[in-house]
């Protein structure tokens, strides 16, 4: 565990973090200004549509940072991070549903619409408390964190590693997807949660709220980044890199590998949950397809594309892939999967260190060279 009180402040003294935060805040501020000051119709005006779109990208970026933390620095390829993202999203969605109140189509003051027309007569226990923002926001952290804790405890304790771990994380998210599709679960089944109105008393359908959410996402990403940076630069971070590169040796040196893994995994899951929670009010819907294993694989691809074990690379990858998706689905709707698939292949084959690798080449080898995961692992016995 990080013992020093300053572990969170240390990254702020790093140049790379300062640059990252500087760019992020400058971008958020620029978008905000262009949206507010420029008149509509002006070439430089940023529409509310674009603001929300950028907000969505930032949510994905935070999610990618969370994945990079476990994959890049801990060596755990999680193919189920979409599950934590979605659970965070559902926690937020439940809060937003309760905020609708009696403005639903049936005018029921307590029950969400989908419960009314499926004849539910009272709110299930797990929906209690979600009318209070503080409770919902705690659950956004707690629910994914708890799932990660239980799952991670079982998995790391019995030393499940490598592909086995990847595949059971996939099984986890797949099972959750099937479960959330069931209407008996009380989460709206396939239709999910939608038709949100207010958040914290602000109308979700106004541009001001959208801008607010965008800024909040920017701040969340900054905090998430600093937390991750703080972890990886602490002693804990170095131990986790050691776990990644030689788990057995680290264990033999006397470190409690599974505790390190568990801690980092839970932090990562919580970050993913926050990303999900910020995502839902901006896109306006949460449905079980966020649990789909393919989505989780896609997140990993963003990280790989941006550059594994760099954190800022994950941000770049997430934004780039999703921007490409937005553009391609509009410009070449029939062929965008070719472009996307081709991108994945080319990047993994020709850019093993991702885009971050390209950037790093220009710089002098920095202090992170020990965090290069693409080096072949030394032979070691794990059994």
């Amino acid at each position: 565990m990080p013992t020093s009180q300053t572990w969170l402040l240390r990254p702020l003294q790093e140049r790379s973090t300062q640059i990252f935060l500087g760019v992020l805040f400058a971008a958020v501020a620029l978008v905000t200004l262009l949206h507010l000051i420029m008149p509509e119709g002006h070439a430089l005006h940023v529409s509310a549509y674009t603001v929300t779109l950028l907000g969505k990208y930032l949510c994905y970026a935070l999610l990618a940072v969370a994945v990079d933390l476990v994959w890049g620095y801990l060596g755990i390829l999680s193919l189920g991070h979409g599950a934590f993202f979605a659970i965070g999203g559902y926690a937020m969605g439940m809060y937003l549903m309760r905020q609708i109140g009696d403005r639903g189509v049936y005018g029921d003051p307590v029950l969400p619409d989908f419960m009314v027309f499926l004849n539910w007569d009272s709110l299930p226990w797990y929906w209690q408390g979600f009318d209070m923002a503080w409770f919902a926001f705690i659950m956004v952290l707690l629910a994914p964190g708890l799932l990660a804790l239980v799952f991670g405890f079982l998995a790391f304790r019995s030393r499940v590693t490598g592909v086995y771990l990847s595949i059971i994380t996939q099984a986890l998210t797949f099972a959750l997807m099937l479960a959330f599709f069931r209407n008996e679960m009380g989460f709206g089944g396939n239709n999910g949660l939608t038709d949100f109105r207010d958040i914290l008393g602000f109308n979700l359908r106004t541009d001001a709220t959208r801008l607010g959410l965008f800024i909040a996402t920017g701040i969340a990403l900054a905090i998430g980044y600093v937390i991750c940076r703080g972890i990886v630069t602490s002693k804990l971070g170095r131990v986790s890199v050691a776990c990644r590169d030689a788990e057995a040796r680290t264990r033999f040196l006397g470190y409690r590998v599974e505790r390190v893994q568990l801690f980092v995994f839970v932090v990562s899951a919580m970050l993913a949950g926050v990303a999900g929670a910020l995502y839902v009010p901006q896109v306006g819907i949460i449905n079980p397809s966020e649990f789909s294993p393919l989505f989780s694989i896609e997140i990993v691809v963003w990280v790989a594309l941006g550059g594994r074990a760099t954190l800022y690379g994950a941000v770049i990858g997430a934004i780039l892939v999703n921007y490409a998706k937005t553009v391609f689905t509009g410009v070449m709707p029939d062929a965008w999967l070719f472009a996307l698939g081709g991108l994945f292949v080319l990047v993994t084959v020709f850019l093993p260190k991702g885009i971050a690798g390209l950037l790093q080449k220009r710089q002098k080898p920095d202090e992170d060279s020990n965090a290069d995961p693409s080096k072949p692992k030394p032979q070691e016995a794990t059994a």
């Binding site: 595949i167 099984a171 294993p293 698939g341 993994t348």
Partner: protein, 547 residues
């Protein structure tokens, strides 16, 4: 099944001829009608076409009673929705080909081909389910007099639950003849069902004795009705009969569930075994594996397009073709992508994920986003009837057999051939194998080709069970990974056992948990099992397990 039975050779109440003789007779007698006096068939068909749904019975009866040798054909055409009227002239015609905007028609009286006609100018002679059911009964009645025991048996089967007052007498009379055992039983049962519903007390009591041993669903239906009826004595004895039937059924149901499980399991094994080779042996996580399965399935479809009318032959040829197509595609993937990712197994996952997206969209663009229809050959459709309550579907039985053959073949290759030896050597220690003179690159290509080819074979088999469409692969990729991991990476026996046991567990859970929950439970089971045994059922041992 009903309609196909009608395609069986002709037979008639009046003429006890063998089928061949009858066809000859028909061929001789045809021209005589059409050239001289008005053909009575004309009136019969017009009558049928004009009939309202109430008059339908009479119109059909009239055709049967006419004793016309062509009656069978007409009723068949009618049952198959192939009778139409030309809007302008009112002439009733048989539609030979009813695909597209222009239909090929023929004169049902003479069999003469009348060429093509626009669909706009034709009015279909309507038939619906209710009439079709009656028609089946009528045709079955005709078939009962056939000399061909197979036709007779099928007809007797079809009579179950369709006996009414008008056929009970001829049926009872038929029983006086010398009939083969199964046919006799069937007819007795179908008469008993009628008697149980309509007969007097004595007949009812006798009917219950006949039905007591029967596992047929119609027999149970009749008994159930008797239990619900107003006669308490009858209800009691019917109940007793039902209880004894239930007992027999239990065994059959258990056997059925086991079969379902094995069949689902063998599908899983087929889908996963190719992955077990590329993933287990080579350490390549091939996310495009599902799309290779899809290619195999599309090859089957393509073969059937090349050989129209011979779905069986096309299917058999698809086995080597599907293997080749998928193997070549696999080798292309290996050469172009995977070989650049040596030593980075998790990154093969990402690159091949891209490949899978490309392949999916390729199929959508080049072929169609729609599912393709793959025909099941005659010998694979239907089921093998063990008894009335237990019948094993043939397509799935073939798939079980096919899975076992593929598995055995792979085991042979891995254990008995030079390639297998080299593959095992490279798997265990690449550097050492190379220094012993094994060309590791060549082994990689061949192994990947083999694994991909097997995926193609899975696709050929799956085309007989499920959709052939661009999403086919996606539906199986996750299951395949689960099976391989559950069984233990790199162990073919593990894959076999894992596939079969997961399939069986799923089918045992499904009846009481529902299919969604059953699937979730299986996934949770896998997660928990991996906690218990982090390397699957059969963990790899020794140095190969490292890294």
């Amino acid at each position: 099944m009903g309609i196909f039975r009608w395609l069986t050779p002709l037979c008639l109440k009046a003429l006890h001829l063998n089928p061949l003789g009858l066809v000859l007779l028909m061929a001789l007698s045809l021209p005589a009608y059409s050239q001289t006096e008005a053909d009575p068939g004309q009136a019969l068909l017009t009558n049928l076409a004009d009939a309202s749904s109430r008059e339908m019975d009479a119109a059909i009866e009239a055709i049967v009673d006419s004793g016309d040798p062509r009656a069978r054909d007409w009723l068949n055409a009618f049952g198959n929705n192939r009778l139409s009227r030309i809007e302008e002239t009112g002439q009733v015609v048989e539609v030979l080909r009813n695909v597209g905007r222009n239909w090929t028609i023929a004169d049902p009286l003479t069999g003469e081909n009348l060429g093509e006609m626009s669909r706009r100018e034709l009015d279909r002679v309507n038939i619906n389910n209710a009439i079709r059911g009656k028609l089946e009964g009528v045709l079955a009645m005709l078939d009962l007099y056939s000399d061909n025991p197979e036709v007779q048996e099928a007809a007797a089967e079809a009579m179950m639950g369709k006996v009414n007052a008008s056929v009970v007498k001829p049926l009872t009379k038929l029983l006086e003849r010398d009939l083969p055992g199964p046919i006799r039983n069937r007819i007795e049962e179908s008469v008993a069902i009628y008697q149980l519903e309509q007969g007097d007390a004595e007949a009812q009591a006798q009917a219950i004795t006949v039905l007591t041993g029967s596992l047929h669903s119609n027999a149970r239906a009749a008994l159930n009705n008797a239990v619900a009826g107003d006669d308490p004595a009858l209800a009691a004895s019917a109940k007793e009969a039902l209880v004894s039937i239930e007992q027999k059924l239990k065994m059959n149901r258990a056997a059925e569930t086991l079969y379902f499980g094995l069949s689902l399991g063998s599908v899983l094994v087929l889908a996963a075994i190719g992955l077990a080779i590329t993933f287990g042996v080579m350490g390549v996580i091939n996310m495009a594996h599902g799309e290779l399965i899809m290619l195999g399935a599309y090859t089957t479809w393509g073969m059937q397009q090349l050989l129209p009318g011979q779905p069986g032959l096309a299917l058999i040829l698809s086995i080597p073709a599907g293997f080749l197509v998928a193997a070549l595609a696999g080798i292309a993937i290996e050469r172009s992508v995977i070989q650049h990712l040596k030593g980075r197994p998790l990154e093969t996952l990402l690159a091949t994920f891209g490949v899978s997206l490309i392949l999916q969209q390729l199929v959508r663009t080049v072929i169609s986003p729609l599912n393709r229809s793959v025909t099941t050959p005659e010998w694979m459709s239907g089921s093998l009837v063990i008894n009335d309550a237990l019948s094993l579907t043939l397509n799935r039985m073939y798939v079980i057999g096919f899975a076992l053959v593929v598995f055995a073949g792979l085991m042979l290759i891995m254990r008995k051939t030079r390639l297998g030896l080299e593959v095992r050597a490279v798997t265990q220690n690449r550097a050492m194998a190379r220094s012993m003179g094994i060309r590791a690159t060549r082994v990689d290509i061949l192994t990947f080709g083999l694994g991909s080819g097997v995926a193609g074979l899975a696709g050929v088999a799956l085309s007989q069970i499920t959709n052939v469409g661009p999403n086919l692969g996606q539906n199986y990729i996750i299951d395949s990974f689960m099976v391989v991991v559950f069984g233990g990476v790199g162990n073919l026996w593990g894959t076999l056992l894992a596939g079969l046991s997961l399939g069986t567990i799923n089918q045992i859970l499904e009846p009481w948990a529902g299919s969604v929950l059953a699937k979730i439970m299986v996934l949770v089971l896998i997660i928990l099992f991996i906690q218990k045994r982090p390397k699957g059922l059969f963990p790899q041992k020794g140095r190969a397990a490292e890294g």
